[in-house]
Amino acid sequence: MLEVQGLAAGYGAAAVIAGIDLALSDDDALTLIGRNGAGKSTAIKAIMGVNRPTAGSIAFQGRRIDGKGARAAALAGIAYVPEDRRIFQDLSVAENLEAGRKPGPAATTWTAARVFELFPEIARRRHAPAGTLSGGEKQMLAIGRALMGNPVLLLLDEPSEGLAPVVVDRLADVLLELRRDGIAILLSEQSRRLATRVSERVMVLETGRIVFSGTFADLDADPGIALRYLGV
């Protein structure tokens, strides 16, 4: 479904990521892990088209989407949950979801009602300005807003950051359910609590390059990698 080859991106002359290859098939999931500044966010933004890649190709369902911008990626069926959530603070919860809806004849599996079913916490606050939500509720809203576009691939940038452990566990349940529904997930995480439950596959990023690729089981089999690159 997603095929990334030789992806490089960065600001100005300095490349933050380089030579990133990854592939994702339908209902697959993959976690990018790595320390702060390793390039996880940059990689996800480059795939979404929020940042323009400086080299490499991104093919989604057989079509090239690199260099076409975030809107093209969204229309192709990719949804993005940014690290800082970027929900619209002045809009109500319901309006945020409306902004994520793609109008048109396409089959709509996701509606506001279904998002509210998934996240009862924000259903109660549907008319409240989104800026008044707590961190966890904002994260739920950002994911709900992404789902409203009926994506086939969900990009999540550090979804568990700043969330209480119980909320992280709930989030893991939700993401597993989405995978069962056939949505592929690409995730960047520092915390393993969420990552190991959602995906089997993992890539370790270090100074913008992939230094390990395999399953979490492989990763745990080699404690040297964890110690060197992740600081645990």
Partner: protein
């Protein structure tokens, strides 16, 4: 040893969640303390409280015997607290040398009149760039420097004011292992030589255990462990926070 910095019941709340939750600690002169903890633990907020970028909701900070809780960053800098930023902040329109010259000029009350700044403190600035190991790049525009060199430059600028306390916010983020070690060797070497107290946040444990003589662990806004590196490493609570509940197995 005497405490150069003391934080008492320091607290900062964002919305309803306390990011820094009634924290108490003190830093002794000439020591090297690492502040670690998972993302969102409150390290950056605590750093901003110490640097003056954020003001505390309650509690007190004393530096060198003076209560600096209400001081703006500028005044704290003048008093001897220097810092680096997580994303290195340098002056983009200048060369590396000019960046350090500007930092040195900032220490002169009144600025120094109309004489050309390009020849001011040239020797001192070159010496500082040499100390952090980038003397060869001093004529380069900072936009042409490699990321690691920008971090070194920032360190040189922080040292310009002869600080008593140096706050380094993730000094090695985004660097390869060998580079990390080199920059930390420089930083700790300088700190020891000049008797500067060092407080740094860090994710890389090799760096933490290799260069700190004391480790403080933050979790959910509180300091949950504090002591010698070996003791902290063995602390079961710390292991649980870092490895997660399911990693105990």
């Amino acid at each position: 040893m005497t405490a150069i910095l003391e934080a008492r019941q320091l607290r900062k709340v964002f919305g309803v969640t306390p990011a820094v939750d009634d924290v108490d600690f003190s830093i002794d002169a000439g020591t090297r303390t690492a502040l670690i903890g998972p993302n969102g633990a409150g390290k950056s907020t605590l750093f901003e409280l110490l640097g003056g970028g954020l003001s505390a909701d309650s509690g007190h900070i004393a530096f060198n015997g003076a209560d600096i809780t209400a001081w703006p960053p500028m005044r704290r800098a003048q008093a001897g607290i220097a810092r680096t930023f997580q994303i290195a902040a340098v002056f983009r329109s200048m060369t590396a040398l000019e960046n350090v010259q500007t930092a040195l000029l900032a220490t002169v009350p009144g600025g120094g009149g109309l004489r050309a700044a390009s020849s001011a403190f040239k020797g001192e600035a070159e010496a500082l760039l040499d100390t952090v190991g980038i003397a060869a790049a001093m004529e380069s525009a900072v936009t042409d420097l490699a990321y690691g060199d920008v971090k070194r430059l920032e360190l040189a600028m922080a040292l310009a004011g002869n600080p008593r306390l140096l706050l380094l916010d993730e000094p090695t983020a985004g660097m390869a292992a060998a580079e990390r070690r080199r920059i930390m060797e420089r930083a700790t070497g300088i700190a020891v030589a000049r008797g500067i107290a060092l407080l740094f946040t860090e994710h890389d444990m090799d760096t933490v255990f290799g260069f700190a003589d004391r480790v403080m662990v933050m979790h959910e806004g509180k300091i949950v462990a504090d002591g010698a590196p070996g003791d902290v490493r063995a602390d079961p609570l710390v292991r649980r926070i870092y490895l997660g509940a399911d990693a105990d197995a």
